[in-house]
Symmetry: C2
Subunit: 348 residues, 2 copies
DNA sequence: CAGCGAAATGACAGCGGTGTCATTTTTAGT
DNA sequence: ACTAAAAATGACACCGCTGTCATTTCGCTG
C-alpha cells in the first residue's frame, strides 16, 4: 500500500540553527541562545524575547542538544543496560526507571546485553555518547561482563547484581532474606517435606543466595532435609522437575521454586498429571511475583521483589554519583511475601 | 553500607580527546581521527597507526560520538516511544526493535509516553537530540498525540497505530482479519451463541476493528447475533463481564475477548464460580497471545500478533525513510491463530 | 640521482551551541 | 542634564570531531 506522500526526510532541509534565528530576528546569536536558556531568559528584555520567539517559531527552531552537550561536558543521557532474557519483573523496573529519568529531564539510552553479545561493545557505545551515568538492570549478567563494567569511567549503578567486591553503588534485592522468610512461612504453615527447585547457571550471575537462604531458613526451624531439584526458569523445566519430585517415594509436600514460571509448571503437573489438590495435598511457592501468580487458577504465594524501591534507589544512587564524588553504597531492598492460596495452612 | 571506595566520577578527569592522543603520539589530530575512522584506517601507515593506538590505549581514549554527530548531521540515534501501559506484547516488540537497531549500530533513546504526559514534550526532546528517526510503538496512544507526531520533521514509523490519514509509514497488525479469522474458527468449531468483550476507551486509539472483524466474521456464516460486553483490559474486568454474561438467560457458549487478560478472568469465573467445564460447556478465545495463555491451566486459543514481523518491518521502514525520500508505506501484518484447548470442537 | 605521481600526513575551517568578556543601552542619583 | 552603575546585548573563542585542501613523504622510472 504505497502512497504519494513522502516522509519528512525528503524535505532534506536541515534544521534551523540559532544563527538562522538570529539573522531572521535581527539580533545576535548569543541572544537567541539566552532566550532558550532557562537560567538566562529572565534577564532578556521582553522585546527581544518576543522577536526571537517569533523568528524561532517561523523557522521551526529546536535547539540542538548534541551541540549543547559538546560544551556542557555532559549529555543528559543515562545509559540503561538490560539483560536479553528480561522477564516481567525487569520490564517493570525498566519502565519505572525510564519514567523517573524522564521526569528528571534526563534521557535514556537503552541497550540490550544479551549474554552472548559483547558487553564491552555496549559499554563502548555508551562511553562514546558520553552518557552521564549507567544503570545496569539485569536478571542475569555474566561475570566477565562485570569485569568489563568495572572499568567504566562514568558513574555506574547496578540493580540486582551482587558483586563480591563492590566497585560501584548498587541496589539489590535481598535474595537470602526473601527465601529465608519464605522458609519461615512454609514451616510455620505446616510443611513437612520440602523441596527446592533451583536454576543455577554458571554463565549468569548466581542466585545461590535464594537456595542458601531457604535452606538456612528451614534449618532454623530444625528442618535439615530438603530435596534439591533444578530447572532453567522455564515453565517446561518446572514441569519436568515436578515429575521427578512427585515420582519420588519420599514425595515432598512443599515445593519452593526460585522462579515463578517453574512454579506454574509444578502446579499444573501436580494437579493435572498427579491429581493432587493444591494446597491441600501439595504446597507450592516461588520467588518472583509475576502476573499469572495473581490469577485464580494459580493464586501462587510468592516472594515479591519491590520493583518500586529498587528503581527509586537506583535513581537516587545514580544521581548522587553524577552529582559528585559520593561513597559507594550497597543498598539492600527487602522483598515481601505475597501470601495467596497455594500454601496449605495447618498449624499456628 | 557505605564504603571507602568512590565512584569514578570523583576522578573528575575529563576524557582524553583526539588532540590529547595526537600530542602524545606526536602526530596530527587529523591522523588520530583517521585511525579511528573505518573508512580511512586502511590508508594510514602501519607505523602511524601503531603509535596512535598505543597513545590512545595509554590515555584510555574513546572517540566522542556527540562531537561526531555534530558535523555528521546525524546522531545514529533512533527515538523509540512506547506507551506507558505497555503489555507483554509491546515489551516483546520493543526488545526486538532494540536488538535489531543495536545490531545495525544504531542507538535507542527510549521514551515512555504515558497518556497523561505531554507527547509534545517527548517529541521535542527527541528532536533536540537530533534523532535520525522515531519509532512509535504503542498499545494505546491518544489521537492528540497523533496530531503532534504529524509535525515531526524527522522520519517516523508507527507500530500498531492506525491512522486514517497516513502521514508516515506504519506497520499494523490487521485487527480486522485477526478477529474475522477467529470468528471463522469459532463458528466452524461449533459455536452457537456468541459474545464479544470489548475494551473501548475514547482517549486511546480505538480497536473497534477487532469488534467489527469479529461481528463480520460471524455474519459471513449467517450468525447475526452476538452479545456485546465490555471491560477495561484487566483480569478483574474480565471476571465481571463474565458474570454478567453467564447470568443471562441466553447464556453464550462462546466468548471472544479483545484482550487475553480479560479472557483469563472469564475462564476463572466460568470454572470456579459457575462450575462450567472449558471447553466442553464454554468456549473462550482472545485477542493477543500472552504468556499465561500457554499454561496448562488456561490453554487459551488466541489471535497472535506477529511481533517479529512487526518489529522487522518497523526497522525496515525506518531505515528506508532515513536512507532517503521514500514513499509512505502502510504494511499490514497478518496475525495468526494460536489454537489451544479452550475452544470446543464439535463440527467440521 | 633528478623528477614525477601517488600516497600519507598535516593544517584549518566549520558543525551549533556555551561562556566570557567587551560594548552598548538603560536606569538611577545628584 | 550629566555621570556612574547596572542591565542588556553582541563578539568571539572554544567544545571534539569531520572534511577539504595543502603539504610532505615515498616509491619508481629513466
Amino acid at each position: 500500500m504505497k502512497n504519494e506522500k513522502r516522509h519528512p526526510s525528503s524535505a532534506a532541509t536541515r534544521p534551523a540553527t540559532s544563527r538562522d534565528v538570529a539573522k531572521r530576528a535581527g539580533v545576535s546569536q548569543s541572544s537567541v541562545c539566552r532566550v532558550f536558556d532557562e537560567r538566562w531568559n529572565s534577564k532578556v528584555s521582553p522585546a527581544l524575547r518576543e522577536k526571537v520567539l517569533a523568528a524561532a517559531r517561523e523557522l521551526g527552531y529546536c535547539s540542538n542538544a548534541i551541540a549543547r552537550s559538546l560544551t556542557a561536558q555532559h549529555s543528559g543521557i543515562i545509559g540503561v543496560i538490560i539483560s536479553e532474557d528480561f522477564n516481567e519483573f525487569y520490564y517493570d523496573v525498566m519502565r519505572r526507571i525510564t519514567n523517573s529519568l524522564q521526569e528528571l529531564g534526563m534521557r535514556v539510552m537503552l541497550f540490550n546485553a544479551a549474554p552472548y553479545r559483547d558487553v564491552k561493545q555496549v559499554l563502548r557505545s555508551l562511553l562514546e555518547y558520553r552518557v552521564d551515568g549507567i544503570i545496569v538492570t539485569a536478571a542475569a549478567i555474566s561475570t566477565v561482563a562485570e569485569a568489563t563494567l568495572q572499568e567504566s569511567p562514568v558513574p555506574l549503578v547496578l540493580v540486582n547484581i551482587y558483586s563480591r567486591t563492590p566497585f560501584c553503588s548498587s541496589v539489590i534485592c535481598d535474595n537470602y532474606s526473601g527465601s529465608q522468610n519464605m522458609a519461615d512461612y512454609l514451616v510455620r504453615s505446616g510443611g513437612q517435606r520440602f523441596a527446592y527447585i533451583s536454576a543455577e547457571n554458571s554463565k549468569y550471575y548466581d542466585i545461590s543466595d535464594r537456595r542458601e537462604g531457604f535452606l538456612n531458613g528451614l534449618r532454623r526451624h530444625g528442618v535439615y532435609d530438603c530435596i534439591l531439584e533444578s530447572g532453567d526458569y522455564t515453565y517446561e523445566s518446572g514441569k519436568e522437575a515436578a515429575r521427578r519430585l512427585l515420582d519420588r517415594p519420599d514425595r515432598p509436600d512443599t515445593i519452593f521454586s526460585c522462579g515463578s514460571r517453574m512454579a506454574y509448571g509444578v502446579m499444573d503437573v501436580a494437579r493435572y498429571e498427579y491429581n493432587l489438590k493444591i494446597p491441600e495435598e501439595l504446597s507450592v511457592a516461588a520467588y518472583d511475583d509475576t502476573f499469572a501468580s495473581a490469577l485464580d487458577s494459580y493464586r501462587l504465594t510468592t516472594v515479591q521483589q519491590p520493583s518500586q524501591e529498587l528503581s527509586r534507589t537506583a535513581i537516587r544512587l545514580i544521581r548522587q554519583a553524577i552529582e559528585g564524588p559520593s561513597p559507594i553504597e550497597t543498598v539492600y531492598a527487602m522483598p515481601s511475601l505475597e501470601i495467596r492460596g497455594s500454601v496449605r495452612r495447618t498449624s499456628e
